[in-house]
Symmetry: C2
Amino acid sequence: MTKMVPQLLTESDIKNQRKDHLSSDDLVGFNVSNSFRQFNQMNDMFTRAYWDESIKSPDTEAFFNSYRADFIPRRGEGFNQKDFALRNASWLISDIISNRGGEKGLREGFQAAIESDTEIAPNKVLIEDVANQSIEIKKIAKLFGADLVGITSVDKRWHYSHRVDTKTFSAVDNELPADCNSVIVMAHAMDYDLVDTYPSALAGASTGREYSHEASICMQLAAYIRGLGYEAIASMNDTALVIPYAIKAGLGEYGRNQMVLTPEYGPRVRFSKIFTSLPLKKDVPKSLGIKEYCNDCTKCAKACPPKALPFGLPTEGSESPSTIKGVKKWSANCEKCFGYWAKIRTDCAICMRVCPFNRKYKSPYDIVWRWLATSRFRKLALIWEAKRKPRKRLKPNDWWN
Amino acid sequence: MTKMVPQLLTESDIKNQRKDHLSSDDLVGFNVSNSFRQFNQMNDMFTRAYWDESIKSPDTEAFFNSYRADFIPRRGEGFNQKDFALRNASWLISDIISNRGGEKGLREGFQAAIESDTEIAPNKVLIEDVANQSIEIKKIAKLFGADLVGITSVDKRWHYSHRVDTKTFSAVDNELPADCNSVIVMAHAMDYDLVDTYPSALAGASTGREYSHEASICMQLAAYIRGLGYEAIASMNDTALVIPYAIKAGLGEYGRNQMVLTPEYGPRVRFSKIFTSLPLKKDVPKSLGIKEYCNDCTKCAKACPPKALPFGLPTEGSESPSTIKGVKKWSANCEKCFGYWAKIRTDCAICMRVCPFNRKYKSPYDIVWRWLATSRFRKLALIWEAKRKPRKRLKPNDWWN
């Protein structure tokens, strides 16, 4: 029987985790101070919209209701019935998984880890070569449809101190099997053309489709590992912050727009993860040169309609309960950001669309630009980006036709 | 409230359906005689393995059990624990859908249509141009991951006279909403390299992965149509035979190996379908020249280990209850075929692997060969195929390494 342990750390646990992960913190540039506190999932914006009277509003309710069949189209192209219908349909597989535990207060994939549908095989396959096992796991992740895969070690600082019971909207223990020491992080690329129509309900289909993909893919990969005889817990936004894990696994760097920027897709990805006891060799992240570019680029901050993104250098300060404490980084004003989402009845990712790293990387121009942007000649890439014809948003009607 | 109607046809219904579909029967070369009978799903091999004592055996039970976590690896490469683990994990999403109605005897996607998870939107989007609507539906199907899409009209001759209650393994009414007049057929391409390892438990991952894909994709597309205000029922192997529908929708032609051969992937596809009331323009199938090649080629029949495939020209006769009555076509000996599956504890598709149309169509050779094979110079393609170095099965261990 699997032994489950709560993920809440004491102050001395936090110190120990910092010590254990000092070298990898350095490698990826995590800047964690003494005022660090684990993040309580009760404080994420989506959860606060249910219990925090300062967030909850007719707009936030209309936002959540718009994901159901009786949505009311808003106005203008990209917000018609077929745009909402497409967005909502794209979420379907993720919805089926996240709704099935509703009666138990388990919103799987969001406020609770995904429940395992298969048993762990009674016989453990012998792992003779952990490096080879990591190669094999990555091959299988890609077979199931993951676009990028990295592997890192568990670092409980990034696990929620508490998760949310979605029946009562109260904090409960965030538990994981004791023997899960590794994290497999997968990136799922969003459709370029749909992203190009942000902000619109239509564009939200790029988000929903990837949630449906990531649910399927991380559940299948976890089932595979369980078939090898090892513990594996499939996870989407639940259980832990995926951003530090994606960075630690070497998949990308943290950008001004609050997203992980990958060399392959820029910020145009979503992430899922698996906590596992399978012996695996960890990836060693290296500097990709992306965040240095972000220091000088403020395209996302300028393009943000509610002005929720910061212009300066990373800081530790934010009074919002939705910002993790004691980590020096770029932090959005989550209240302004989500307030805008609620108003337009769909997710906004203009900051993803306008990011200079959001490219297809099929043309030689894009590839040369990336090489420049991540090199010590990044100023040239900034100038090139400033001089090129501004990329316009793809009009939703043009997407349809 | 949706009006559901049983799909069982009377003799005069059958005559009327034949009359209505005479021209499309001619177009696709369906040869349906007066002795035609609708197929009762109780008679498919997988169902018979549960109730027909002449089929049920320790091997068939071990076959079905091998899809659970306590599978017992068989012997030899391709049948190890990790091969079974991969195959079984690949089925996961399809399994979740097909298992959720177990208590009600509804094996969704196999012996019952997939239950809708979303309501039909109260407002019907106005369809002004059915041709354009068909283009749009195909675009959305591909966005969700379908590899090929075709649209045809409902022809109830291919609907099961009865479906199977999987709790009691008895025949029950096979019902569909009365207003569904169109069928959207989608093809889902199987992984070339995995297929190249048939027969093996590993190769079965190519089947399972596509069942998981098709479940997700046809459910999402059906949800989209419901969001437009129209009825849409997602369907995999349930409700109706998909092969005649795939052919009628113009996606391919029927081959000696009992599969639909598509120009894009040969037989390396699986199909799903959606029954819908959405007004759609139907595709008009045209001769692809593939089945003429099959007349002269017997590669699949020669390669079949239990010798279950026919060598001659299409015939109407087969005594097996698992063969539809009154259709002139190539028919396998299903008992021999499934007996072999049960013995090796996994699906066999050697006949798919060795089919000359099973190619990637990335090299100019493949493309020229296909042009020849589907032209009046097909004999040259037969000679070319006979002269080229025999393609060997990919060894499962080579797939892993």
